[in-house]
């Protein structure tokens, strides 16, 4: 007779010395873990609740300006640095880690309307309503690390005076040209005191300009005649023009899919377009209740941040119709400019109340270094939450955001209005000859025409 029974010696299954780690044995048999789906579901609900508990996105405010913050620029060469310009002509360089001003750039007489840094991070370009473009040397990072007490202020490298007030500036991603928007779109070189060329299409003012991150010669501008115009520096004339029903305040290109850009519109929505196919938006991002003032893509290209006149900052998925996150505080006023930090983990907003505010891009993310076990656990909880996100309980908890009363009311009102519009259109359609009133999708509705 052959007999074998389970026999475990204690030495084999426990640690040898007390400073060893405990030994772990795994058996993945599903029979040992009954009701695993229920357990996973409970974990998903709990992690959704915990995410809500830990959602503290606001890190701090950076105050120092004496007037509303009108524009910001990231320093592509230095993660902690951010430039901001204000309505009283003050430009500051901030250290985001210590939330202090590192350096000031005095000189503008009127409001600073545009700021941008060259791709190598050495030169800062600013422009303003005083009809000047100023080039500044960016202090190197060792200065940034040094004492904050001494009031660093630097002189401009160059001051170029031109004919009209400027509204925006943007630097080429590769090369040393930059474009300003004003009465016309001007292309400048660092070393020339006059624009090397100018573009004009119509008589209206261009209010924002953005270079394409993938193709250095392509740029998009939006103008106050509700148009979005695409330019190519290699051609003598503009390429394309898209006229919408309302003005576009700002444009941002998707850095990972450089043919796509998103326009922040006056009608509370953002519209993602493919620049090759402008007759229809790829996606309409709704949720704001007032004009969207500024937009900036995350370096990952998966999401973007918008700042709005309704005093909130929202984060959208690049292909999602509604916002993933809304940030607001009692003291934050109209938001004029927003930026995603270069590591995609922070969001900076500049608003009417003279402050820059620093937010986490993921509201409940734990800052600092994570231990591997912590990271694994969080990845697991994320996966479980993703798996059960469609269940009502999880969905409700994940979706819920507390809104300030005015925004909540405005959103309800907007919903009522759109619903009424929809009903009216439906009835109109029902009472007219079949086929005479085709339904137009929202992606096309706000577009008037596309001009080649």
């Amino acid at each position: 007779m052959k007999v074998k029974v389970i026999s475990r010696s204690t030495e084999e299954f426990t640690r040898e010395r007390s400073n060893d780690l405990q030994r772990v044995f795994r058996n993945f048999d599903p029979n040992l873990r009954p009701q695993e789906k229920a357990t996973e579901y409970v974990r998903a609900v709990n992690s959704a609740k915990l995410e809500k508990i830990f959602a503290k996105p606001f890190i701090g405010a950076m105050d120092g300006h004496f007037d509303a913050v009108s524009c910001m620029a990231k320093n592509p060469n230095h993660l902690k640095g951010i430039f901001s310009g204000s309505m009283d002509g003050d430009i500051r360089l901030w250290d985001m880690a210590s939330r202090q001003t590192v350096c000031q750039f005095p000189g503008h007489q009127g409001a600073v309307r545009g700021l941008t840094a060259s791709t190598d991070g050495r030169i800062l370009v600013s422009c303003g309503t005083d009809c000047t473009v100023r080039l500044w040397k960016v202090p190197n990072s060792s200065v940034m690390e040094s004492d904050e007490s001494s009031d660093n202020s630097s002189e401009p490298l160059a001051v170029y005076v031109w004919k009209n007030a400027f509204w925006a500036v943007d630097h080429q991603w590769e090369g040393d040209q930059f474009a300003t928007a004003g009465a016309q779109v001007d292309i400048w070189d660092h070393n020339r005191s006059e624009p090397i060329r100018s573009f004009e299409w119509g008589k209206d003012t261009a209010i924002s300009v953005r270079f394409n991150p993938g193709e250095p010669n392509v740029l998009a501008t939006s103008a106050s005649d509700r148009s979005i115009i695409l330019y190519d520096l290699r051609l003598s004339s503009p390429v394309r023009k898209l006229i919408m029903k309302t003005k576009t305040n700002s444009i941002s290109w998707n850095p990972m899919e450089p043919m796509n850009f998103t326009a922040a519109n006056e009608d509370c929505n953002c519209y993602s377009y493919d620049c090759r196919k402008l007759d229809e938006a790829k996606c309409v991002h709704k949720d704001h209740v007032s004009a969207v003032m500024d937009i900036d893509y995350s370096p990952t290209g998966r999401e973007f941040v918008t700042g709005s006149y309704d005093r909130t900052v929202r984060i959208f998925q690049y292909n999602g119709g509604h916002s993933r996150e809304i940030y607001h505080t009692k003291r934050m006023q109209r938001v004029f400019c927003v930026k995603f930090s270069c590591d995609a983990s922070y969001v900076i907003s500049g608003s009417d109340d003279t402050n820059l505010r620093l937010w986490k891009a993921k509201a409940s993310e734990q800052l600092g270094v994570l231990l591997p076990r912590e990271r694994k656990k969080q990845e697991y909880l994320e996966a479980v939450k993703n798996r059960y996100k469609h269940l009502p309980e999880v969905k409700r908890i994940v979706r819920h955001r507390h809104l300030p009363k005015p925004i909540y009311k405005a959103a309800t009102l907007r919903r009522t209005m759109t619903e009424a519009d929809r009903r009216k259109a439906e009835r109109r359609k029902a009472h007219s000859a079949p086929g005479s009133m085709p339904t137009e999708p929202m992606r096309k509705k706000r577009i008037i025409k596309e001009v080649e």
Binding site: M1, K2, V3, K4, V5, I6, S7, R8, S9, T10, E12, F13, T14, Q22, R23, V24, F25, R26, N27, F28, D29, P30, N31, L32, R33, P34, Q35, K37, A38, T39, E40, Y41, V42, R43, N46, R387, Y388, L391
Partner: protein
């Protein structure tokens, strides 16, 4: 030439061995796939299909990884008892088995004779490390089965009917004369659960932290032991009941009644989920297979029945008495009756259990409770003269998972695990017959009716089939073209009829509806009650 041939041969051998291994791994991986994948062909949404395809691939990958881990990384092998020559395994006596195994295992078989305070009942913790023993006359004890130490012993001076461990060895509940009590390991009485009444049987649902009890009057109580609130108080209405067992697969409580019925309960419904007549006569014992789809019941009608819990059908019926039943982790069935304990095994894989081992106690002992020790090849017996443990090779799961139940748990690990299991405590609503339904879609309730075009297409197909039906060659004028044509026409009419009937029915239905609506519309509300009732 010769060497080349040899080379190719050896390659073939290697490849066939590889193939065997992959086949074996596929067989193991089936268990980890947890059922078939979704049928993606029928999905119309391309994006969803793509996402799900990626997901399915991930599942198969993880199943393969788990299968590999099971094949190569498990430290222990299963126990077995194999007869050689003319020997029969059920003839093997315990002393001979104990003689064959190593010293460590041979210590696990023992008898404790306590004639005064019996009959005894036993319970194990989920890791199998500790055993609780309760004598009818008030003797309670906890033993450490690894070191064979007595942890605590106490005398409550009251009838004790049942004992059960709570989530770990620190707490246990005992059903005493009037009420159940909760004790800690030191023997301090922590709670007296007066609401439960004179409890007959106790069970603990360890994922839900619920203590389920059934009392003399057939009332089933569920109490949450973390918050202390009574989750449910259900009246079975079937009288006194002393057979109770929790299905480990879905945490549904099964009760066996004196009328021969087995009822299954969840705390959130006042009526049983299932009520099945299992035996003609009182139920004496029941047990659930750890897989959850097999139930064994025994009745006083001298039958043991195995039930398929997916179809609620009898799989096999055996003629045999049983006072107590229990399935082991590996699916062996222990049957206790009088002084004889039999162990049955499903050797063929089709749930046809046949005898595997047997063990007879000294004459006059009455086995009251059999319970397999988890993660060990040991069967614990509580009987009228004390309790004993016997070796049953191949009964326990050889490989434990440290995160599920660890027999070598330290107190620090136990504390950690308590916190984690409390965080994952399941709400009572998650108890249902099919726990895999959580997070899945409810199937569409309405059957989609075929559209008009589909109906027409179907009718045309039927007509075409009738037209092209072959004819037999007939004789004597029956094969005339006119006759054949007539026959064909008849066939077409016959094929058409069911469709036309259905169409008519539908039209009638619609017109009736319209009529009803128009009638209601025509008359003002006050006069509607004078409308002529339709004569059917």
């Amino acid at each position: 030439m010769g060497t080349e041939q040899e080379d190719s041969k050896s390659e073939k051998v290697v490849s066939s061995a590889d193939k065997d291994i992959t086949d074996e791994l596929d067989l193991i991986a089936k268990k980890y796939l947890r059922g078939d994948g979704a049928n993606l062909e029928v999905l119309k949404d391309k994006k969803l299909r793509g996402q799900l395809a990626v997901r399915e691939e991930l599942y198969s990958k993880s199943a393969k990884a788990a299968a590999k881990a099971e094949k190569w990384l498990n430290p222990c092998g299963e126990g077995y008892l194999e007869a050689e020559g003319l020997e029969k395994p059920w003839r093997a006596k315990q002393p001979s088995i104990v003689h064959e195994v190593d010293i460590l295992s041979s210590r696990k078989a023992f008898d404790i004779v306590l004639p005064e305070l019996g009959p005894y009942t036993v319970d194990y913790t989920s890791s199998g490390r500790y055993m609780a023993v309760a004598g009818r006359k008030g003797h309670l004890a906890i033993m450490d089965m690894k070191s064979m130490d007595l942890v605590k012993e106490l005398q409550v001076r009251e009838t004790v009917r049942d004992v059960v461990f709570l989530h770990n060895e620190l707490y246990f509940a005992a059903a005493q004369k009037k009420y159940p009590y909760i004790y800690n390991r030191e023997g301090t009485e922590l709670h007296c659960l007066k609401e439960h009444g004179a409890v007959q049987k106790l069970q603990f649902l360890k994922n839900h932290f619920l203590l389920a009890t059934v009392n003399k009057f057939g009332q089933l109580h569920y109490q949450d032991i973390t918050m202390g609130d009574m989750v449910a108080n259900l009246r079975t209405g079937l009288g006194r009941c002393d057979v109770m067992q929790v299905n480990p697969f879905n945490a549904v409580v099964g009760l066996g009644h004196t009328c021969g019925k087995v009822t299954m309960w969840k705390p959130t419904s006042a009526v049983p989920l299932v009520k099945m007549l299992c035996h003609h006569g009182p139920i004496s014992a029941m047990a659930y297979h750890p897989g959850g789809n097999l139930m064994a019941t025994a009745g006083l009608d001298r039958k043991i029945k195995l039930w398929d819990l997916r179809k609620f059908e009898v799989l096999h019926t055996y003629s045999c008495h049983a006072k107590t039943l229990q399935f082991s982790q590996k699916g062996l069935l222990a049957i206790g009756n009088g002084s004889l304990v039999q162990i049955w095994k499903d050797s063929s894989g089709d749930q046809n259990y046949s005898r595997y081992m047997s063990h007879s106690m000294a004459k006059g002992y009455q086995v009251g409770k059999v319970m397999f020790q988890p993660y060990e090849d040991v069967l614990g017996l509580g009987h009228s003269m004390g309790m004993s443990c016997i070796l049953v090779p191949g009964s326990g799961e050889p490989n434990f998972d440290s995160w599920v139940a660890n027999p070598f748990e330290t107190s620090k690990q136990r504390r950690e695990k308590e916190v984690h299991s409390l965080l994952d405590k399941l709400p009572p609503e998650t108890i249902m017959l099919d726990p895999t339904k959580i997070g899945t879609m409810r199937p569409a309730r309405k059957k989609e009716q075929p559209s008009k075009q589909e109906m027409e297409a179907e009718m045309e197909a039927a007509i075409a089939a009738a037209k092209s039906a072959p004819f037999k060659k007939k004789t004597k004028g029956r094969n005339k073209p006119s006759r054949r044509e007539k026959k064909k026409q008849e066939g077409v009419v016959k094929a058409k009829r069911p469709f036309l009937d259905q169409q008519m029915k539908e039209e009638e239905h619609i017109s009736k509806k319209k009529q009803r609506i128009s009638e209601e519309v025509q008359l003002p509300k006050a006069l509607q009650r004078f409308a002529r009732k339709k004569v059917v």
